[in-house]
């Protein structure tokens, strides 16, 4: 396969062309709004393209540590976090394909959800520990999103 130029480089070329040549040739308000939406989507795809696998792996590891912290604090009353952790660990991605990794990440998301609820009940340092994982996830989502406004709003 042709690995270089990277997907990021190619997408940046497309985005630049749409922002300059194409956009200036369009007068229809609805089409311009759609071009703004396409630009926003392309920006997010570009932000993900080089680092997505590494980011997913980092977040899964951080979520597992947060889940383990809930268990270590004895804050998993009904065993919900332990069950989600067990499901995650029994269903690791078995290939390098992104859809497989996304499935694993989704299972990790359930661990984080349950850990957040357990942390909310427990309060104190445990709550902070778990919410820091959510906050880091949010920071990355914001980085991927970039600037955002509602395209087409008059």
């Amino acid at each position: 396969m042709i690995a270089r130029p990277s997907s990021r480089q190619l997408l940046e070329t497309v985005r630049t062309e749409l922002r300059t040549t194409i956009k200036h040739a369009v007068a229809d308000a609805d089409a311009l709004a759609r071009l703004d939406m396409i630009d926003s989507i392309l920006g997010s795809v570009i932000a993900r393209s080089d680092d997505e696998v590494a980011w997913l792996r980092e977040e899964i590891a951080a979520i597992e540590r947060a889940g383990d912290a809930v268990l270590a604090h004895g804050a998993d009353g009904a065993g919900q976090v332990a069950a989600a952790l067990a499901t995650l660990r029994a269903n690791r991605a078995t290939s390098y394909r992104l859809p497989d990794l996304h499935a694993e990440y989704n299972l990790a998301g359930e661990v984080l959800s349950r850990a957040l609820e357990a942390g909310s009940r427990a309060g104190g340092r445990l709550r902070c520990t778990v919410e820091e994982v959510l906050e880091a996830r949010l920071r990355r989502e914001v980085l991927i999103r970039g600037e955002f406004s509602l395209a087409g709003r008059i």
Binding site: A29, D30, A33, R34, M37, I38, S40, I41, S44, N106, L107, G109, E110, L112, S113, R114, L116, E117, S120, R121, E131, L134, E135, R137, L138, E141, V142, I144, R145, F148, S149, L150, A151, G152, R153, I154
Partner: protein, 344 residues
């Protein structure tokens, strides 16, 4: 003549059997919304022109947010019959879409233009007056007599059960999705821990923000797009407007929330315990699930490939903006409730 104009002529002729002549001209799509198709047109009824608006579902069912047009029509028709509600009159409906191609409502056109355009074109010195006008409109909505609303509009048993249900929605919506969304579970738990004081229930527009407001006769503001209207907590509208102005500046409530709340209290008679910047901030989060539930379900269809709409794809980034706003609001509210913040 366009196909739509011909359909509208036939549609109006069936509803106005006493008119000798009806023609439709100047069909112009209106920009601004994501969920419904809006078209301005001129109906010439026995030679007298009248500008109207067609509000229709997308024919391809690809709208990012699905809502019930029949329920919206029943509510708007009831408010129109009562009179006095801050909205354009709702005139006719095609409840099953067989006449106009999709479920549709025909409303009076509001001549004054979009409030959002006016606000954006204004300099800073004009913003306080716009904030006052927004406050007046919010109070007008809250003042509507809910007894006239149709049976299709749910009546909560009381405020506590209403709030329970709304908080539960945060968990329930997430549980229905194939993707785990930890932010929804975090927010649900946070909302439960930080309940505000009880408020009297009333009419809530449900998507109250300058983009859904027009400048009506004599400069009075009127609200449009009532698809999320319901009986609920009046702070929902104030909170939703607060959230939207964070991504759609300039801020009208946020520029001086203390003054805005004071004016709203003076108009409605509600107490400072009920209406203050902290309770409004709580409601900048809580009711968002009403709008986001539909969006998240549609986005799930995008993930599975049954929806390929560009707007739906674009609005994934709106989720992140919402997550950011909710998370920051929870942190700011907790900081504001700390004893040192209160005494400062």
């Amino acid at each position: 003549m366009s196909d739509l104009a011909a359909r509208l002529e036939a549609f109006l002729s069936r509803r106005l059997p006493d008119a000798d002549t009806i023609s439709v001209t100047d069909c112009v799509p209106l920009q601004g919304g994501y969920s419904r198709l809006m078209t301005r047109f001129t109906a010439h009824i026995d030679g007298v022109p009248r500008t109207l608006v067609l509000r229709a579902d997308a024919v391809d069912s690809a709208a990012p947010i699905e809502t019930d047009r029949v329920r919206e029509w029943e509510l708007l028709a009831a408010l129109t019959r009562q009179g006095g509600a801050p909205m354009p009159d709702a005139l006719y409906s095609d409840e099953d879409g067989h006449e106009l191609g999709s479920k549709s409502i025909v409303l009076d056109y509001v001549e004054g233009g979009p409030f959002l355009s006016l606000v954006r074109a204004s300099d800073d010195t004009a913003l306080p007056a716009h904030a006052d006008a927004l406050c007046e409109l919010a109070a007008d909505v809250q003042a509507v007599d809910t007894a006239v609303l149709p049976a299709a509009v749910e009546r909560p048993a009381d405020w506590h059960s209403y709030l329970d249900e709304l908080i539960t929605q945060w968990r329930r919506v997430e549980a229905e999705l194939s993707e785990s969304i930890p932010m929804l579970r975090y927010v649900g738990a946070w909302l439960e821990r930080n309940r505000p004081p009880e408020a009297p229930l009333g009419l809530v527009h449900g998507e109250f923000q300058p983009g859904n407001i027009m400048i009506g006769p004599h400069g009075r503001l009127v609200a449009v797009d009532w698809e999320f209207a319901h009986i609920g907590d009046p702070r929902e509208d104030l909170g939703w407007a607060t959230w939207v102005e964070a991504i759609q500046p300039p801020a009208l409530i946020g520029r001086d929330p203390v003054a805005f709340c004071a004016r709203y209290r003076a108009r409605t008679g509600l107490s400072e315990e009920i209406i203050n910047p902290l309770t409004v901030a709580y409601f900048s989060i809580l009711p968002a699930i009403r709008v986001f539930a539909g969006l998240l379900r549609t986005q799930q269809n995008y993930v599975t490939g049954t929806n390929t709409d560009l707007r739906t794809a674009f609005l994934f980034n709106a989720n992140i903006t919402a997550f950011e706003g909710w998370f920051n609001a929870t942190r700011q509210l907790e900081a504001a409730k700390q004893p040192s913040a209160v005494s400062a």
